[in-house]
Amino acid sequence: MSNTYSAFSLFKQAFRGHQGWQPVWRNPEPKPEYDIIIIGGGGHGLATAYYLAKNHGIKNIAVLEKGWLGGGNTGRNTTVIRSNYFYPESCALYDLSVRLYENLSRELNYNVMFSQRGMMVLIHSEAEMEMAVRGINAMKLGGTDAQLLDADGVKKRAPILNFRQDARFPIHGALIQERGGTGRHDAVAWGYARAADRLGVDIIQNCEVTGVIVEGGRVTGVETSLGKIRASRFGAAIAGHSSVLAEMAGYDLPIQSYALQAFVSEPLKPVIDVVAFTAAYGAYFSQSDKGGLVMGGGLDRVPSYGQRGNMPMQEAVLSGLIEFAPALAKVKILRQWAGIVDVTPDSSPVIGPSGIDGLYLNCGWGTGGFKAIPAGGYLFAHLLATGDHHEISRPFDPDRFKTARLIDEGAASGIAH
């Protein structure tokens, strides 16, 4: 029913005043029952539905979204895609994601604008250099790409950065993952939604889950703002609001919610052609195709569900960013926003059973959910379809908190003495 996208179809439609474009997705009424219901119409939920239909042949699926699809963290991040992780488990997970992203536009027939411009992690001291070498080796052994740049190499890639000797943190070099970069966040949600819809998935917007129906220790349905809907399996992919569902259904989660802020500047002619991240200054930025600088940093200090963000972190991130790239001082901010991210004790995601039969979880992505959308969907679909982990998602099962086999990417980087 839907058009195939190409330069040719765009050309053809131009002569028809673009009257012939079909809806990218339907607005179906919810059926009383599905095989699988995905709660959450963000990137992870939509990707899960897509892979369930495509890889596992399950078509009787609904995605329930309380607002507009892609309106949560999928549409509120800084669009960075990378797999520069330390632990082999993480490398495997995020590299699967990068590989899926590499072919995603063609697979979905929707341009998600994955731009592999490189992801650069700056090194500002000898101590950081040692940790970077540890990281590069871990990445290479873990099967992903990484290279070390010296200060001159960094200067070639990003002359806008602060190479002055009086910089608070001088630049020694960088770790760069060339396959990393950015994507168009909304397009990822829309592309998956369109592709899933074409495979028969019901995407139901403005449908808020208000209750979980548990019968005989098993989740059999959900109460929603559009009525009761049943299914034999449920997958929850609701990021920062995971704990709200957990309270409804009655299971524990190792999650705390925080606002993560981002900023975009007025559009500028090209300034930087790589994603530049610096831990010392606590900030990173890249430039969007429209020309705006997309900037971010750490979590707000106060746990919250307020999708606003607050000044202390703005001051911390932006003052670090200017010291990192002083020419940016005069650049103006156009918008600032925040997403609510779900942070686990080890900063690694949770994929696995909820503890209540029939309900599975995909959450805990913290600050890094966008880059993991294809892998998160792919692996979660596997779990929902088969009831078993894909080998890549096994280490991310919530049972790791009991066995204490954490995948602590935050602590892996250690602390300088």
Binding site: S125, E126, Q165, D166, P170
Partner: protein, 182 residues
């Protein structure tokens, strides 16, 4: 290996000229003793021969006085010599901290405006204690002798940095009011 000695201006320690700008005077002062006492406040005050430990915006008076640090802690400024350690009879813990903090005095009508650049300080918001984060530094800030003399204590290690900050703030404060201000 990187040598940062030229990237950081040589430290001046206590030996530095005052900041004097538009009637604002900022100087380092050297009380001869600062004593930290933890435990029941009435006992602590008794030990230091003080009636009260000031909070915000109270005004500390005289050469020797006490400032309130927290629910169960005061600091005596120029108090009597008291033996370090646990005072069993009174249930008090005592540590001499005479050298731990540098003390900076800010005087003049602009002093309030300098302080407001580093913290949300207002006489309308009283506080039981004088401890306060000032532009990221943990400090004690209180009024002394009059309503526009302020004292600020800071860990000695941060004296260089906070001085740089106060210079910066003094320049900003004395540049005000600008034409937009009516």
């Amino acid at each position: 290996m990187r040598d940062d000695s030229t990237r950081w201006a040589a430290a001046s320690g206590y030996d530095r000229p005052d900041i004097n700008i538009n009637g604002l005077q900022i100087s380092v002062i050297r009380p001869w003793r600062q004593t930290l006492i933890s435990g029941p406040i009435s006992k602590s005050l008794e030990l230091g021969y003080q009636k009260r430990a000031v909070g915000w915006p109270e005004i500390a008076k005289g050469k020797n006085y006490a400032i309130r640090m927290r629910r169960d802690r005061i600091m005596l400024i120029n108090g009597p010599a008291i033996e370090d350690g646990w005072h069993k009879d009174k249930g008090l813990a005592v540590s001499d901290m005479s050298d731990a903090c540098a003390v900076i005095q800010l005087e003049g009508v602009l002093a309030d405006s300098v302080l407001k650049r580093g913290t949300e300080l207002d006489i309308g918001i009283p506080s039981g204690s004088v401890v306060r984060v000032f532009h990221g530094f943990e400090t004690f800030i209180y009024r002394w002798q009059s309503k526009d003399i302020f004292r600020l204590h800071i860990q000695f290690g941060y004296l260089e940095s906070i001085w740089l900050l106060l210079q910066n703030f003094s320049n900003q404060a004395s540049a005000q009011p600008c034409t937009n201000w009516r």
